[in-house]
């Protein structure tokens, strides 16, 4: 039983950690979520259908990330702006993704590409709401098929497609401000 579980951990840890990393934009939180999800998998191991483990893990990971973001936003209500501090931009997240202070980690993907466009794309992804963020990550970054996403998020197939297009469009709109592309 332990061996089977360990094999499942090795097989699925990348998918869990990748999703959490891009969803949360915070390496430390992504690690916490990854550990939490894998331990939860252990706790329910005897009840899980191993053939449907992938969708189950995606769903649990996404829900855990979503809950964490909600808590993060809820905590934002506890803060007020110091008079001498710089103003927070309208609509901006007062609790932006906090990079690991010790390592100065720029977050997932940025190191790999290092381009300005990638940086702005990552920032735009951080601003993307649900359900678009999940679907964009699952489809465009992790390469899941529409059916797999539909199964994991319990959404109709066509809805996944529509949400993906809308999500990418919103990313485009976010980047338009930076790159000044003309609009129709």
């Amino acid at each position: 039983m332990v061996k089977a579980f360990e094999a499942a951990v090795e097989r699925h840890q990348r998918k869990i950690h990748t999703f959490a990393s891009y969803y949360l934009g915070n390496p430390a939180e992504a690690e916490d979520i990854t550990q939490e999800v894998l331990v939860r998998m252990w706790r329910q191991w005897s009840k899980l259908d191993t053939e449907r483990l992938g969708p189950w893990l995606l769903r649990v990971t996404r829900n855990a990330c979503y809950d964490l973001l909600r808590r993060r936003r809820s905590a934002a209500k506890l803060f007020v702006l110091e008079p001498e501090a710089r103003p927070i931009e309208e609509g901006a997240d007062p609790l932006p993704a906090v990079e690991t202070a010790a390592a100065g980690d720029p977050g997932p993907g940025a190191r790999a590409e290092g381009s300005e466009f990638q940086h702005h794309l990552r920032r735009a992804l951080d601003e993307l709401g649900e359900p678009f963020r999940s679907i964009v990550i699952l489809r465009e970054i992790q390469g899941f098929k529409y059916r797999e996403i539909s199964d994991a998020l319990d959404l109709p197939l066509n809805t996944v497609r529509v949400y993906l297009h809308r999500g990418r469009r919103r990313l485009r709109e976010g980047l338009r401000e930076v790159y000044g592309h003309a609009t129709a």
């Binding site: 360990e6 951990v9 990854t34 550990q35 906090v98 592309h181 003309a182 609009t183």
Partner: protein, 215 residues
Amino acid sequence: MRRLDGETVIDCATVIEALEAHLDGDLEGAQRAAIEAHLERCPGCAAEHQLAAEVRSGLRALPELDAPRAVVERVFKETVRRQTDGSRRPWRRRRRPVVRPAWAALAAAALAAVVVGSGLWLTSTPSENDATADAAAVARATEEARYALAYVAQVSRRTGLKLRQDLLPEHLVDPSARSLNRALAGRPDPPSREGASGNRENGAERAVGGDRERS
């Protein structure tokens, strides 16, 4: 949404709406031809199409990320530890005394002592295990609380925002204390906050030590 017709000049709004579907190859025949014809003669839409293509390719270029090995090892340690704890049986820890036939009376007394002692040990060992588990849980909770406070301080410094002291008891301290007390007492959390205020005297104060003011 306008209907796409290969013989109809479609407007920019329709093209923009259909860009993502076009990039994904979801359009066919007349629809696709109309979009492409428009893109050839409209610089604005062509630029938007280019941006859309860059977004798509930029996302697909982002790498998948393995969890740090330390995370995986912690999971294994947690699961192996739990597996080991679950397989232990308290009564197997105790060694059965060796009874020599020549010492029957003493053996009977010893056996009686073993039976009584086992009964006591069986009732005490779960408490000891619980005490150990509680201590570990408290240590972990303390660590997590430290991390949470450090995170709050870090965010406060980075954003120039100040923690609202007046909201801390209501949004952080009291809910945490109520949940903790209920967890220790084995009671579930109440469905609404309104019913919790009456528990403040015997709940939050006791768990938090009566100190609701934070500096």
